[in-house]
Subunit: 251 residues, 3 copies
Amino acid sequence: MVIALLTDFGDFYPGVMKGVIRKITEEEIVDITHSVRAQNVFEGAFLLYNSYKFFPKGSIFVAVVDPGVGGKRRALAVKTKNYWFVAPDNGIAYPSASEDGIEKIISLNSRKLSEFSGELSSTFHGRDVFAPAAALIAEGKIDEYGEEVETMKELELFQVKIGEKIACKVAYVDRFGNIVTNLKKEIVEDLKPKGFYINETKIPFVKKYEDVNVGEPLALIGSFNTLEISVREGNAAEFFGIEDEIELGWF
Amino acid sequence: MVIALLTDFGDFYPGVMKGVIRKITEEEIVDITHSVRAQNVFEGAFLLYNSYKFFPKGSIFVAVVDPGVGGKRRALAVKTKNYWFVAPDNGIAYPSASEDGIEKIISLNSRKLSEFSGELSSTFHGRDVFAPAAALIAEGKIDEYGEEVETMKELELFQVKIGEKIACKVAYVDRFGNIVTNLKKEIVEDLKPKGFYINETKIPFVKKYEDVNVGEPLALIGSFNTLEISVREGNAAEFFGIEDEIELGWF
Amino acid sequence: MVIALLTDFGDFYPGVMKGVIRKITEEEIVDITHSVRAQNVFEGAFLLYNSYKFFPKGSIFVAVVDPGVGGKRRALAVKTKNYWFVAPDNGIAYPSASEDGIEKIISLNSRKLSEFSGELSSTFHGRDVFAPAAALIAEGKIDEYGEEVETMKELELFQVKIGEKIACKVAYVDRFGNIVTNLKKEIVEDLKPKGFYINETKIPFVKKYEDVNVGEPLALIGSFNTLEISVREGNAAEFFGIEDEIELGWF
């Protein structure tokens, strides 16, 4: 069994979460990422959706991008067909959980869970609520720390608008500056494009990086099975600038 | 048993330390952080103090922020009531070790410890001294690699000056730009403040982020149990600028 | 047994690789670094060369800096006297593998390996090819996923030109801004230098950081056993600027 962490916490805070987990369980802890853009629930949901399915059945995911921490949003543990998801109720776990098949949603008792860290801060529920919840799932004891509810907040990852241009989202920008959009492979294939435009820049639609020269822009279906804009051995995010939304022409 | 690492090494060097540890012991290795501001012993001490207590008893901490590496400062292994700390003798482990209760201080034999990495560099005692020391503690063999001493360098985390203004330290700036000070909760509570000032900017003292509007500054007691200056869904460090010291007015 | 990862992937992608590995094997996964400069095969090779030997015998290294991903370059698993290396055939694993002693080179069947991730993307062979290959080595099954070949691409780490000046490479810049060159200790010792020049700046050649004042530049033999340029408690990369190549005078 694996407890996998995905947050926007950067360094340090995840280390404290690991300490709290180790007080409860010896199950393995794996980092997926702690570099989600700060407070960006959409990006967190997108990255979780594109990683959970590569983990073995039985894995427990802790996904915390949580601008509402300390407020009224619920904290959830969601059992699905093959996995568990622990997350604030802001939609971050919804695309993954609903794809895998939701079987049970538990609204967590934050006060009771915080007995393991010894305090219930208003800023760090990763430590005080979510880490112990994941560890208690691993130990088969989570039912004592919450009550079943019927619904969780929904979030839609792949909404795009197709008119004269395609309005889609920048779902993720990786370390290479590749711009990963939320425009699904199937939609792209229907368009049968030769290429795309960003403003006036023509971007050929290709199969792999080597299909263009070094330094040239390209578009391809990337490892997320969505459209990616890249520059071969370069940085597309610097080349085009990064925004949350992107408008693509095509030809 | 857990061997937990806290350094300012960034990437790569901690990976090498893990290799050396694995040559000696199979005990689990956990990263707390490797992003302490370079050479900032105070920040290292503050983060260690705010993480060690969340780990299970028996954990071994390796805390290396070490501007004096290669020079005359001693390398220490410190046994406390519940933990072990391995660190250069520059104060980084003192607040944690003294809080938990120091039972034994061993001045390490760096030359002898370096047999595991095969060399004693003048720049990377994380690899040559501290990593093997931690692993040997895990294996119950550290006594052969040093001699007991009576004292270690002290360091005070929570010194502040309260006059017309409060002069305190920026102990840590997290990835969200939250400015974590070393002004303790108890002192803040005695002041019964409605809010604080940085220069002319008024900052309400609240319970949680949602008590102000998005984009507005706020002050609260954070997860370190000290005063934190934040901007809701924004970046206080960018908003106010970051210095090592901070002067706060209050009302 | 340890599976150790070294890539230029930054955050997230390595987390997905760990999921894929966990579907196949329970052997421990250790991160060496994921911050190699993007697409910089030389730096990847240098860091692998300076870390593999600190790991226990039997360790499996996954080294992926892969500008040719999706193209025709082969994917390799290389058995050496004491280790395994999994990498694209671009030279990244060559200095390490050849030093340890190459015993067998397997050209991997990427299509067959991708059954574990469920797809063969043209951008992320870390997930689809290299991660499952490492896990299958751990399980003793790699022979079914490739065929033996005779050669692999070579790469030379320590080539320098010594004329009036020394032309060498910036092999790595660490988080402190230390400039690690590929100029070997033995060559430096033959020169018997008192110091070096970068442009007009005189840099004393010393034993340890404390041999100069805080804020002053220095040169020493660092933990890579090559020449390093540093600034005591400062940042040499900012002080001198970073390039891929560096010209050193000496006196």
